[in-house]
């Protein structure tokens, strides 16, 4: 009986701490900066995996470039944002396991300096869903256990 209680304590604590970890991860923005010089008619592509949060991309370039963000699921690709100017863009990443491509293309006959500031903010959707489900499940199990214990002690006291 104490072993079952131990397992419930373990599971309940794990699910609660997962909820706390979700909140901590959601409140701390993550980000990185990349700077690149694109030579005349040169292009650059980087492939990323991003967590399902909001992504804020700040593009600063010394001149006009083609800037695209798209994702692929290995067979099809979908352009989610396409710009030809500097600016500030926000993307809502819905899935974790997609490959996100950032393409920067210089169409001019001169070098262009490009700086990218990428910041992730907001809760990770999959992580939040998982912690809500686990919390609901572990709290229900705990209540069932407490209810059964009270019922058993009542029966024992009647005997």
């Amino acid at each position: 009986m104490r072993l079952i209680k131990l397992v419930i304590v373990f599971f309940l604590t794990f699910s609660i701490s997962l909820g706390v970890a979700t909140v901590i991860r959601g409140l701390i923005p993550e980000g990185f900066t990349s700077g690149i010089t694109l030579l005349p008619y040169e292009s650059h592509t980087a492939i990323y995996r991003w967590p399902p949060r909001f992504v804020r991309i700040e593009l600063r370039s010394s001149d006009k470039i083609i800037f695209q963000v798209y994702y692929t699921n290995h067979e099809n690709h979908t352009i989610i944002e396409k710009y030809t100017d500097r600016g500030l863009f926000t993307i809502n990443v819905r899935q974790r396991r997609l490959n996100y491509y950032i393409l920067m293309q210089n169409t001019l006959n001169k070098s262009v300096n490009v700086n990218l500031y990428i910041t992730f903010y907001g809760f990770e959707k999959d992580f939040a869903h998982l912690s809500i489900i686990l919390n609901a499940f572990s709290i229900s199990i705990s209540f069932v256990y407490v209810y059964l214990s009270i019922k058993r002690s009542n029966i024992e006291s009647q005997d």
Binding site: R2, L3, K5, L6, V9, F10, T13, F14, I16, S17, L18, V20, A21, I24, R25, I28, E30, G31, F32, T45, A46, I47, Y48, R49, W50, P51, T72, H77, R96, R97, N99, Y101, L103, I118, F120, E124, D126, F127
Partner: protein, 269 residues
Amino acid sequence: MLRLKATFRKFITLLAWELEEIPYLLLGTIVFSTTIYVLYPGVSHSAGSLIIGELIERDSLKFKASIQDYLFYPSLIIDAIEPLAAFLAGILFATNVARTFENKELQTLLTCPVKRTHVILSKFCVNYSILYISFAIPFLLDMILLGISSLSLDIYIWLLILAFPILFACSLAIFISVTLKMSAFSAVLPPLIYFGLSKALDTSSEKTYMLLYSKWDEKLFKAIQDWITLQSVPQMGVEFLYIFLYRFLLPVLLLAFSVIYFDKILQLD
């Protein structure tokens, strides 16, 4: 055969008894701190962005994963796990081993028909399992979030490598608890010894310095991966000798010495 079966059954009973003796508050604290720590954005890499390769053909969107960098992120998490494992192992063994000397609980237990070796080994197994499971579950979750498939072999190799630093922390903690028999020292000394050892290795030579950080865990991961998939036999160079000494032989020797000391030398009033 029957005798072996009876011994095994007694050992399992001892394990269950030891597991039931773990305080709920301590278990909750360990699970809470390990989960928050492993999934904290500074330690976990799944909260941020991962570069996974370079584009080789734009029209068909074919890309080449030149280095599968994301497969090596777990080694950085293991680096971060080591000090917390030493700290938690100290507290766990101080509560479960050293305190039983102080409150004479161990003497009561030894009046039962059980072998001393089984008593100390059961304590070690239970504490080690609790620490390993507490670290392994959030570590596994983080690896799945990193994009490593739960069905791939890589995930199980990383889980195997995770067992070594926790083995070291636990064997150090049991050695201190058995030899000193005082809960306060048993709780404080393992993290202090770990940091002292890290500092000593840090300043001795470049090879031992590298041993402390993720590079050698990555090499161990590659070697085990190649060996399991029968791609190549790992070469046993000086690097693997260091890994073997630090990760496996030292913890096993500490554990063996603790068991022998408890069984043959230790006098209980």
